[in-house]
């Protein structure tokens, strides 16, 4: 039976239309919620598939509201343990891939990447979900591996912090700003604490926090959504869905009794003198997302060289500082706002004079505030940048992970541009005024140690 010319032409037209659509359709960037706790960022043209399990627990969630480094040690143990689902170290989950992990005060992440052209993509995803579903129940580690990994963590500590001229003082400052609070403690622990790490403490942490209700799986790449759903269902259905315990540190902000303290450290390994004023102050807001949006816009100003910015005043106008070394305002947690401003003094300017000038600058800024035109300019920058990032599937997983890691409601992620667009100069100026609230203030000086 032959095709009629009309049918043929219609089919050709349809095919051409589909082909044209396939060729010009920008890569899909928005994530899809494949099933509860599982996201996929479809990226049909990617040549790699990325997998991440994000656990909404980090060192701040350790026992007794005391961050000792157990969450980080557990991350190591999960990745090096020889478990039934994967007898090789999970650091080498796929011979042609990459694997890693990270731990912060608030979250723990496990990441894997492998080539999308692998003939056994479905099998690999099945193995990954099988492995991590089992980790939501427990993990295996031999005593020898546990001891050796403790030594590895010790060497990680020495590599990252032990040889850093800033680490010890930075730790003191954090403890001062956030007294008796786990967010003020180092994620990796200290040499003394690392020496005392135990597998039992790690198991207890896992039992408490590694629950399906407290993790997310985020994938990206050319992954078949239906297939992913089937695989995820196979391993995640039936897992206990009881909610994790309430996070103690969230409910108990640090006691921010008014106090000022100066810190100074001199070291030959420090290249230039820097002065930083950091403050932790009580702060209450009714709309967390609105505050986050306002800090986003304000920080763009503080980092800028716009008229009235720290750089334009302290470096260019007054010639007090030779360069800014950061300025920011952050909603640290419920009930706490953190501000920080740092600079390097000009050679003839004393540390004390720079400190006074920076303090004075922040006071004046909170008095004068930002004008509407500047705020609109900064918001336009954000809007342009965000719009471009939305079309980029390689940036979508990071945006999603950052959002979820802050324990923000997923359904509001899409509202980000609108929330930022709604920020007014009044919102930002209220934030600037809030920083005058009495709280804790650390003035930190790092300086080169000069030998005669």
């Amino acid at each position: 039976m032959g095709l009629s010319r009309a049918v043929v032409m219609a089919t050709v037209s349809a095919c051409l239309a589909i082909l044209a659509f396939v060729l010009v359709q920008p890569a899909q960037a928005l994530e899809r919620l494949v099933r509860d706790r599982v996201f996929l960022v479809p990226d049909p043209k990617a040549q790699s598939i990325n997998f991440q399990m994000l656990v909404l627990a980090g060192c701040a969630d350790e026992a007794g509201n005391d961050c000792k480094g157990i969450a980080h040690y557990l991350e190591h143990l999960v990745l090096v343990g020889r478990n039934a689902e994967n007898r090789e170290s999970a650091m080498r989950f796929f011979s042609d891939g990459n694997s890693n992990g990270y731990t912060t005060s608030r979250v723990t992440g496990y990441t894997h990447q492998f080539p999308a052209a692998a003939p056994d993509v479905a099998d690999r995803l099945d193995r990954l979900f099988g492995f991590y579903a089992a980790r939501l129940k427990g993990f295996e580690i031999s005593p020898e591996d546990a001891v050796r990994e403790r030594n590895v963590v010790m060497q990680e500590y020495n590599w990252r912090y032990g040889s850093s001229p800033y680490a010890a003082t930075g730790r003191e400052v954090s403890r001062f700003l956030y007294p008796d609070h786990p967010l003020g403690q180092p994620v990796i622990g200290s040499p003394e604490l690392i020496s005392a790490f135990s597998v039992e403490a790690s198991r207890a942490f896992l039992e408490r926090w590694y629950k399906l209700s407290n993790v997310y799986f985020i994938l990206s790449g050319p992954v078949d959504e239906a297939q992913l759903r089937t695989i995820a269902d196979r391993h995640l259905n039936g897992l206990e869905m009881s909610p994790p315990p309430a996070r103690e540190w969230v409910r108990t902000p640090p006691r921010l009794a008014q106090e000022q303290r100066s810190f100074r450290h001199e070291d030959r390994r420090i290249a230039e003198t820097t002065v930083t004023i950091s403050r932790a102050i009580p702060f209450n807001d009714s709309d967390r997302l609105k505050t986050l949006a306002a800090t986003l816009v304000l920080n763009e100003f503080l980092r800028s060289k716009l008229k009235g910015s720290p750089h334009s005043v302290l470096v260019e106008q007054d010639g007090i500082a030779s360069g800014m070394r950061g300025a920011s305002v952050r909603r640290f947690m419920d009930g706490v706002l953190t501000t920080s401003i740092g600079a390097t003094p000009e050679p003839e300017i004393s540390v004390e004079r720079l400190t006074t000038a920076m303090q004075s600058y922040m006071d004046q800024l909170s008095e004068r505030g930002l004008d509407e035109a500047t705020v609109e300019r900064l918001k336009r920058r954000f809007a342009q940048s965000y719009e471009r990032s939305l079309a980029d599937p390689q940036r979508a997983p990071g945006r999603l992970i950052d959002w979820l890691g802050e324990n923000l409601p997923y359904e509001r992620l899409k509202d980000t541009p609108a929330i930022v667009a709604a920020v007014t100069a009044a919102d930002i100026n209220a934030l600037l005024k809030a920083q005058n609230t009495p709280g804790r203030q650390a003035t930190v000086v790092f300086a080169p140690k000069v030998t005669q």
Partner: protein, 466 residues
């Protein structure tokens, strides 16, 4: 009629087969990236790659530049000159205003030094490329070069140099370089103690450098993104067309690396010891580059590498270990392996690293080791070629290595052609037992050192073994 129907059937089959194939299969069927290489109307070499799906345009540039190597008393110019151009602004707009204008446009412009070239990028939305090109042109043609900005940059650089001489990993690296180079002119790059080479640089020096180096004849431009070749050519000519035609091209410095076969210990009160060992090599990054990458990844690149397994997983002595080959001078490279290890395990770790290296030289790599890395490299390269900034950077790297502009087209074929046998042949040819070992550690005890010093300044007292 029958012929018409047959042609339609064939056409439909081809169309349908394209539509039903999985995306990665379609991608693999592409015949190259469509890279074109030609001079613009203004005579500037422009390599172009069209990335339709990208919403970012990247213009990557590189100027051949050996100027400062022939002006050792002003060596600091190589970093200071591009920095001052970018931060100083133009005669009509100061640096801060330019920076903010660029942020409004969503564009990043940068310029920095390379070993024998100056390179930079202009990255942003295609719709504002003309505006950002106007800014870049002002900076290049009418720079402000404010003395105060230069003084600040000089202070920062001097302070950085002084501090680097106190950091464990940079002490090891600087000592290693000095022992390989000796007193040849190139050593100036690593003899950071001569701070006058930074302090003596003036705005006039920067301007002389600009006029001598930033020309059209030695400029190579790569445009990657959604912009057509015609638009990119126009943009490039508008941006760089006002530069002088000819650069003052300087010759390569003569260089023959030394091969000191010795163990040097620098005793310092450090938290963690650094072991760095290696030797000069001619294992190049072009024809032999893919095999070199595979070999170094097997030896010390990532969590599957032999050094990682030996030093971290079996001994628990370190957080990581690396192997690599880096450029010393044109045609001369430096092979090295490195690890920061526990002070009480430095002797055992040194022995383990030596044994792994010996095994590597004698046994080479296996197909089971390199095949997965090849797959990873191919996927990683394909992903990088989708993004304008990384695609432009890859192609510029090929140009700087005197490779053809469309070298990226043959990447997969070349990777697939590398075998364990060909890697092992190169390992035997390029790696030797004549190792220079530098260790920074609290005590030289048990390390059988040929030379023990306590500071970087004393390295020159270490005599080479014949």
């Amino acid at each position: 009629m029958i012929r018409f129907r047959l042609a339609l059937h064939v056409f439909l089959l081809v169309l349908l087969s394209m539509l039903v194939l999985p995306p990665q299969a379609v991608y693999a069927q592409q015949q190259g990236y469509g890279i074109t290489d030609a001079r613009t109307a203004g005579g500037i070499r422009l390599v172009h790659i069209l990335l339709k799906d990208e919403n970012t345009q990247s213009i990557a540039v590189a100027w051949s530049d050996r100027h400062v190597l022939h002006n050792i008393p002003k060596l600091g110019l190589q970093s200071l000159a591009p920095t001052l151009l970018m931060t100083g602004g133009s005669t009509s707009l100061d640096g801060g205003a330019i920076e903010e204008d660029l942020k409004d446009l969503g564009v990043q412009i940068s310029l920095r030094r390379g070993p024998s070239y100056t390179q930079g990028e202009m990255i942003g939305p295609p719709s504002v490329m003309n505006d950002s090109a106007r800014i870049l042109r002002m900076v290049l043609m009418e720079p402000r070069l404010p003395p105060k900005s230069l003084e600040r940059s000089k202070r920062l650089m001097v302070n950085g140099v002084v501090a680097a001489r106190e950091r464990t990993e940079s002490i090891a690296s600087l000592a290693f370089a000095q022992l390989l180079i000796g007193d040849q002119p190139l050593a100036a790059l690593y003899e950071l103690e001569t701070l006058s080479r930074i302090n003596d640089v003036t705005p006039a020096d920067v301007d002389s450098w600009r006029k001598a180096v930033l020309a059209r004849s030695n400029l190579r431009v790569v445009a990657a993104g959604p912009m057509s070749r015609a638009d990119a050519e126009k943009l490039v000519d508008e941006t760089f067309g006002g530069l002088p035609q000819e650069a003052e091209i300087k010759s390569n410095l003569p260089f023959a690396p030394r091969r000191p076969r010795m163990t040097v210990v620098i005793e310092r009160p450090v938290e963690q010891s650094v072991i760095l060992m290696g030797h000069p090599t001619t294992w190049n990054s072009t024809g032999e580059g893919l095999a070199r990458n595979l070999a170094m990844t097997v030896l010390g690149g990532g969590s599957s590498s032999r050094l990682f397994v030996a030093i971290r997983e079996k001994m628990g002595a370190a957080y990581g270990a690396q192997a690599g080959v880096s450029l010393l001078a044109r045609g001369q490279y430096r092979f090295s392996i490195q690890s920061s290890v526990a002070n009480d395990k430095v002797v055992a770790a040194l022995e383990t690293m030596r044994q792994e290296l010996k095994r590597f030289r004698e046994e080479g790599v296996t197909a089971a080791e390199i095949d997965p890395i090849k797959k990873r490299m191919i996927a990683g390269r394909a992903d990088a070629m989708r993004k304008a900034p990384s695609a432009a950077s890859i192609i510029r790297g090929d140009l700087l290595n005197d490779q053809p502009a469309d070298n990226a087209d043959s990447f997969v074929t070349r990777v697939e052609a590398v075998t364990a046998g060909s890697v092992n042949e190169l390992i035997k040819r390029h790696l030797s037992d004549d190792m220079l070992t530098v260790i920074v550690t609290p005590s030289a005890a048990g390390l059988a050192a040929d030379c023990v010093v306590t500071s970087l300044d004393a390295i020159k007292t270490c005599q080479m073994k014949p």
